[in-house]
Amino acid sequence: MDLSTAGILLLDGVTNGAVYGLLALATVLVFAVTRVIFLPQGEFVAYGALTLALLQLGKVPGTVWLLVALAAIAALLDLVDAIRRGLPAAQLLRGLLRTLLLPAVVAAATVWAAPQKFPLLVQSALALAIVTLLGPLVYRLAYQRLADASVLVLLIVSVGVHFALTGLGLVFFGAEGFRNPPFWDARFAAGPLMLSGQTLIIFAAALALIVGLYLFFERTLRGKALRATAVNRLGARLMGISTSSAGQLSFGLAAFMGALSGLLIGPTTTIFYDSGFLIGLKGFVAAIFGGLASYPAAALGALLVGVLESFSSFYASAFKEVIVFTLIIPVLLWRSFQHGHDDEEE
């Protein structure tokens, strides 16, 4: 291999690594706040990319109907719960409004906007909004009841959610793959390397998001509330932080980061309804580097996974998935030796 091939592979790996990094950060965030190992993180990637693809075609994506349906079920459950607990009508209405308003607005906007074929950026914003709103609803419906269950039970729930979301993806988007147009099709030569505009956007977006998250967690009350929940759920609850809202917020953030990742890689590779899972799992392998606890380690792990993947696809393309996923075992081993035994659960 000469230096330029290595450079190309490295650039390719780092680009993918940046996307995996976003997913890894989301995984760490969700686990820290809710103890949910959120395997379906990748589904949001596919949903984001494919929702945009359908909007590009001027169609109303099925994810909108999913959003409406989930919001309706959540509202119904809230209603039953409120009646059972005898909440006053005003509080009940406020709660319902909070659950239904945003999904309804976004759904209406999408139905109106889809056939008009607005510019790419508007459609991207719409896709982001749809998928981001799915996050809290997924938490509300699948996990909230089980918030105090063991990590293992929550993990099995995640697997169920993965099945459901993948199957629904097939319903919404069909078996065919889509490749989105790039946001910026400029190209720059940097020595032997070709930098595409899309690559630059990926780097810029990843960086912006990391800085944004940092500011959110360091500077805002909500961010600090999330951190408090991550450290000690009971303690946070005693301080008046709702762990349910914290869970929904963290899932909303995770969905946003997933959808954004989907928009970012949509133009670089063809996305199928089930492509998200593998992409998400790679972010996941990266998150394991940080023991599902350290953001910087997860980000570094993501770069490593990206680079390893691009080099192994050059040397042994058929075995690249084998190599990437086998990597998790030595990493897990290393983590477990660092932490020793700590399985006093339940």
Binding site: L146, L155, G160, V171, L332, D343
Partner: protein
């Protein structure tokens, strides 16, 4: 018991006549798939429901069995009756290696690892030339049994279901045995099991390998039933479906495996017919239903379908068949007054905090030593240092002159130290008797094969006899058939003492045994402890009930802020101003 035996007999009979009856071939095929899946799910019940370990990678082990059979038969013409053993060996070794790597990890890392290698194996199978890549291997011959070809679904049915029923019975037997109790004990955490002398790592590895072997047999059968193998039935999705079957059927019950496999297979088939019609295109839409159902099961019926059946069935009451069982061998007792436990300048630091500060004391044979002190004085930490739950920062602990500091918890248990816990640690779903029998774990020796073949029954009777004896002694013999979760807190504490006694200890450590006991119970507990002391047992007692302590113990050690404050007879201690200051504060 009788009812269950009859139910099993009827079930076996139904199985036997099913292929002879004019049942459409379609249902025979379905039943065969259900049998193949049941085998795998029985393994998952053992792994997840019993031992508390979760695996999404069982499909990979099925794949190992299937590909071994297919490759060896097709390439080298090896007899299937040989390849099944080769498959078992390969799967066993692979499972052993994976278990040794991944079972050291805590809680959720194991299922994550199973996802990773489940995916890896799928891509590996799909890319290896000699295994036919994604097309797989075709034209695998049917099994022959004494010249009889099992090429039809009906003939194959018999072999398959004989294996399934035998596996289910073997695993049921295993659960009702010394090893089975040890497997249940590792589910909630390892501290209690280790204190009972269970090698928890080994038990986990055993459960993992057994589950893998069952999967491997299923794979071997699968290859010869379907006559082709390709990677897709061995991928992660199938691994998840196996777990789904286990959860749906009831992950804690062997027969839940059968129910889960049956319901999922039939549901899947119906959904595959109806959903594409509904959607207008083909695709594996059934996973939507499976996913939603899995989440709902975990939210509303975590114990699965079989739990509902179990609730309707009459409760099994263990037959008391151990009246004339042999007594278990007992340990040689130290001479009265000999130093049993000697703690010398033991220290424990957590970071900068000194939890136990160079504490020394000893306990003699036939003596009760009280360890008292305000909350946070380091009593429980001292306990944990003596029992090997925590390693000491420095200092020496000897038992009958042998160093035990630094030894593992179960090793210390083997030397004759038995304990109870401040917060009761028991297996809530087992009966009181079985919980106590766990205490005698180290006094039995039979393992998995003996349990499955029931050659361990003489030993089992002896263990039960000992458990009952200890329960009678502690005064709760009449509760022995109750599930442990039915007991009041005080009774649970007494059960823990009986469990500790079942180990035939030299030294008994009791951590607040009287908490939650009523006055009468306390008095009878004190009576039992006096009697044990009279028999030459040494007891180290941590307790807050001063009436009990002062009226019972020979000597008292008072701790405060990790340091030993004073040691002496109850009278000396009660008279000490320093002790009063520690408990009540000083006057100003």
């Amino acid at each position: 018991m009788l009812f269950r035996r009859i139910a099993l007999a009827v079930f076996v009979l139904l199985l036997a006549v099913l292929p002879l009856a004019p049942v459409p071939e379609f249902w025979i095929t379905q039943a065969n798939y259900i049998g193949l899946y049941t085998l795998v799910v029985i393994g998952l019940v053992l792994l997840t429901g019993v031992a508390g370990l979760t695996s999404f990678g069982q499909a990979a082990f099925v794949g190992m069995g299937a590909y071994t059979a297919a490759y060896l038969t097709l390439t080298y013409g090896v007899s299937p009756w040989l390849t099944v053993w080769i498959g078992l060996a390969i799967t066993g070794v692979a499972a052993l290696v994976l278990a040794r790597i991944t079972l050291r990890m805590s809680g959720h890392y194991l299922p994550l690892a199973t996802i990773a290698w489940g995916l890896s194996l799928f891509y590996l199978l799909g890319n290896l030339d000699f295994l036919g890549k994604y097309d797989g291997l075709l034209g695998i011959p049917a099994l022959t049994f004494f010249g009889q070809s099992l090429s039809t679904g009906r003939s194959f049915f018999f072999l398959l279901w004989i294996i399934v029923v035998l596996a289910a019975i073997a695993v049921t037997h295993l659960l009702d045995s010394r090893t089975g109790r040890a497997m249940r004990a590792v589910k909630g955490g390892t501290t209690m099991a280790e204190a009972m002398g269970v090698d928890t790592f080994r038990v986990k590895v055993t459960a993992f390998v057994l589950a893998a072997l069952l999967a491997s047999v299923s794979g071997w059968l699968f290859a010869h039933f379907q006559r082709t193998v390709n990677p897709s039935p061995f991928g992660l999705n199938m691994g998840i479906e196996y777990l789904f079957m286990a959860v749906l059927g009831g992950v804690g019950h062997v027969w839940g495996a059968l129910v889960g496999a049956g319901v999922v297979q039939i549901l899947k088939d119906q959904l595959q017919v109806w959903l594409p019609k509904l959607m207008g295109t083909s695709g594996n839409y059934e996973i939507i239903v499976f996913g939603v159902l899995l989440v709902l099961m975990l939210q509303y019926a975590r114990d699965g379908i079989w739990a509902f059946v179990e609730a309707l069935l009459p409760r099994v009451r263990r037959k008391v068949d151990w009246a004339d069982a042999a007594a278990l061998p007992a340990r040689a007792k130290p001479a009265h007054g000999e130093v049993v436990l000697d703690v010398r300048a033991v220290r424990k630091e957590f970071g900068g905090l000194v939890a136990v500060n160079d504490v020394s004391f000893n306990v003699r044979a036939g003596e009760i030593l009280g360890l008292i002190g305000p909350n946070g004085a380091g009593k429980s930490t001292t306990f944990n240092l003596v029992t090997g739950v925590l390693p000491a920062t420095r200092g020496e602990v000897t038992l009958l002159g042998r160093r035990i500091d630094g030894a593992r918890s179960r090793e210390i248990a083997r030397q004759g130290v038995s304990r109870t816990f401040q917060h009761v640690k028991m297996i809530a779903t087992m009966t009181v008797l079985e919980n106590v029998a766990l205490g005698a774990h180290l006094r039995g020796r039979h393992g998995v094969p003996a349990a499955m073949l029931r050659t361990d029954r003489a030993e089992e009777r002896a263990l039960m006899k000992e458990a009952e004896r200890q329960l009678q002694r502690i005064g709760i013999g009449e509760l022995m058939h109750e599930p442990a979760f039915n007991l009041a807190l005080g009774q649970q504490r007494l059960m823990e003492i009986a469990r500790a006694l079942a180990a035939d200890p030299t030294l008994l450590l009791l951590d607040e045994p009287a908490a939650g006991l009523r006055l009468k119970e306390k008095e009878s507990l004190a009576g039992v402890l006096r009697q044990l002391r009279g028999e030459g047992l040494s007891i180290l007692l941590v307790e807050h009930d001063m009436d009990l302590v002062m009226g019972l113990v020979d000597r008292v050690v008072v701790m405060e802020f990790g340091t030993k404050l004073i040691e002496g007879t109850p009278e000396e201690v009660q008279a000490s101003p320093a002790v009063r200051a520690a408990y009540l504060g000083t006057e100003h």
